[in-house]
């Protein structure tokens, strides 16, 4: 009997503790998320400079700092480019192409040549791909740990074989980064 009572009491304690844990997690989800396991993505300058009068063979480069806040780290970061659903610029082989590189230090721009230089370690985050609307692009060689910042260089261009159907087109591209 004493053994049975002790077992019963222990079981009750375990059940109560489990219930309290679940309730606590649900009741105070934000502090748990922010302080324990949940990094957040942020971009400081969200409005990139527009690209005008792009012609076949042209490329445009824009820098973007992807910051990881909170705590913990992401297992993966993916990019979806939106805004090309009804545009011939998102037509695939002859449409817009995107390449993303990362520098371990902030990118430096030469004001005369307008070229970007990396004075740290340079890594390929996304090889050149033809972008389609909302296509899932998995990014590599990031450092998605809270407190870090990835200095990204986006190179957007039109292939030289792009034809007259891409003349005089306008699209607003949204680069949506999602960490999970």
């Amino acid at each position: 009997m004493p053994l049975l009572r002790r077992l019963l009491a222990s079981a009750l304690v375990v059940v109560a503790a489990s219930a309290l844990c679940v309730c606590a997690a649900l009741a105070s989800a934000r502090p748990l998320v922010a302080k324990s396991h949940h990094p957040r993505l942020a971009i400081v300058h969200r409005a990139l400079a527009p690209v005008a009068n792009l012609a076949p063979g042209d490329s445009a480069r824009r820098t973007l700092d992807l910051r990881y806040r909170g705590s913990g780290r992401f297992a993966t970061v993916v990019l979806r480019v939106k805004g090309l659903a009804h545009s011939p610029l998102g037509s695939g082989s002859t449409g817009l192409r995107l390449k993303i590189e990362r520098c371990s230090r902030a990118w430096k721009r030469n004001s005369r040549t307008r070229a970007y230089a990396c004075q740290g370690k340079r890594l390929a985050v996304l090889g050149t791909v033809a972008i389609r609307d909302r296509q899932r692009l998995k990014l590599r060689h990031l450092s998605p740990r809270a407190g870090r910042t990835d200095h990204l260089l986006l190179t957007l261009g039109l292939p030289a074989q792009a034809g007259n159907t891409l003349e005089h087109q306008l699209a607003k591209l949204v680069y949506a980064f999602t960490g999970s």
């Binding site: 009997m1 049975l4 077992l7 019963l8 079981a11 375990v14 059940v15 489990s18 219930a19 844990c21 679940v22 997690a25 649900l26 989800a29 998320v33 396991h37 949940h38 990094p39 957040r40 993505l41 942020a42 971009i43 300058h45 409005a47 990139l48 527009p50 690209v51 005008a52 009068n53 792009l54 012609a55 076949p56 063979g57 042209d58 490329s59 445009a60 480069r61 824009r62 805004g83 610029l89 307008r114 070229a115 957007l156 261009g157 039109l158 030289a160 891409l166 003349e167 005089h168 087109q169 306008l170 699209a171 607003k172 591209l173 680069y175 949506a176 980064f177 999602t178 960490g179 999970s180």
Partner: protein, 200 residues
């Protein structure tokens, strides 16, 4: 017996606790498993335009008849450059339909020369002849009249400007009797090509 009975109850209790524990663990994991975070940046992308037009002067549609060996005919045409992208080059493609030995005989058949005047050509005639009140330069040296993607030289190619061209088509003096009483219709297509790709 009681102990046995108690043991059975104990097993049930332990099983219940295990089930509850597992449920709590799954609930806890589920709470953390779907965490994601998103952020975005945006900008506009606009492609440019390239426009090549002819006029107001364009005499290329005016034919010539009773052409003899050694004769030449002059026609003027203005090429206008417009659009938001600069031109890098221009080419000329000529085709013949109907065709004859006048355009297929590359030696004794029709030949073409194109000159440019820095100002509009002064026209007289018909038969049309042109004089230049400014400076002239050669756009295309003497070539057989039929060609594909023939490169043109000394054009301004600047958006908002016009090149004043004079096309001279000649039947060489060496043309023999086999070229008598023939007719060809020549189509001229000028094509502007954008500047080389740049980095913005």
């Amino acid at each position: 017996m009681r102990l046995f009975t108690s043991g059975s109850t104990l097993h049930k209790l332990i099983a219940s606790v295990a089930v509850l524990g597992a449920a709590a663990a799954i609930a806890g994991l589920g709470t953390y498993a779907t965490f994601t975070s998103s952020t975005s940046a945006s900008h506009t992308i606009a492609t440019g335009t390239l426009t090549l037009t002819s006029g107001p002067t364009n005499r290329l549609g005016t034919g010539a008849s009773l052409v003899a060996a050694g004769d030449s005919m002059q026609r003027a045409i203005d090429l206008n450059y417009a659009g938001s992208i600069s031109f890098g080059s221009a080419t000329l493609t000529t085709t013949a339909s109907p065709s004859s030995a006048l355009d297929t005989d590359a030696t004794d058949g029709l030949h073409i020369v194109i000159d440019k005047c820095s100002v509009a050509w002064t026209e007289s005639g018909p038969p049309y002849t042109y004089t230049c009140g400014g400076s002239t330069s050669t756009v295309l040296a003497s070539s057989p009249v039929i060609g594909t993607g023939t490169a043109l030289s000394n054009l301004t190619l600047t958006a908002g400007t016009t090149d004043h061209l004079r096309v001279t088509v000649t039947l060489p003096g060496t043309a023999g009797n086999s070229l008598q009483n023939l007719s060809s219709t020549i189509a001229y297509t000028f094509t502007g090509v954008q500047r080389a790709g740049t980095s913005q």
